[in-house]
């Protein structure tokens, strides 16, 4: 397992980028999971998670 951290202010495109990286690595047969500490404008839709076999773990607080 490799941890890849994507930091940035709200609206900088973190979720958009992570979703794209998940798709690109999935095409190479690599599995991913996500820990999210913020609910941004972008989300991980259930059909996206199902299609790409991804689990998302929310982390609440600061």
């Amino acid at each position: 397992m490799r941890i890849v951290t994507v930091s940035g202010i709200r609206g900088s495109g973190k979720t958009t980028l992570v979703r794209e990286l998940i798709v690109r690595f999935r095409e190479k047969g690599r599995r991913a999971a996500v820990i999210v500490n913020e609910e941004g404008e972008e989300t991980y839709a259930p059909d996206f998670l199902g299609t790409h076999g991804v689990e998302v773990f929310p982390l609440r607080g600061g």
């Binding site: 941890i3 951290t5 940035g8 599995r31 999971a33 982390l59």
Partner: protein, 134 residues
Amino acid sequence: MGCSLATSLVTEVKKIRRTLNPDFLFIEPSELVISEEMRQATRMALRDVNFSNGPFITLVDGPGFQDLWKERQPLLLGQIAGADVVALSKSDLLSPGRMEAIMDTIQGYCHGIYRLSVHTGSGVEDLVKAIERS
């Protein structure tokens, strides 16, 4: 990043490593967290489980940069300075002149900057390669 949040993160990382053990675990921290705090938190998890730690990527919002730099410079610098990879997001919305001005402003604080646009796909493959090289 507070102690309780760091502890929760460590617990979550260990649980995921011991159960799912995916090839990649992406972490999207709160916007107020700086890169060094993330390094410290993930290092704590390394005491209990084994994984590869990094790269630490920081996204800099291209279109909003001017205002952010004026109002939240310490936060931006904390995220940029400790990152392995810095990427200028939404770069397709920037004129060449604005892009160069942003690069000139922040390049002294990091090793290099990727020009990224997930919308057009520009720079995404470079980031994929940067992750694979880590």
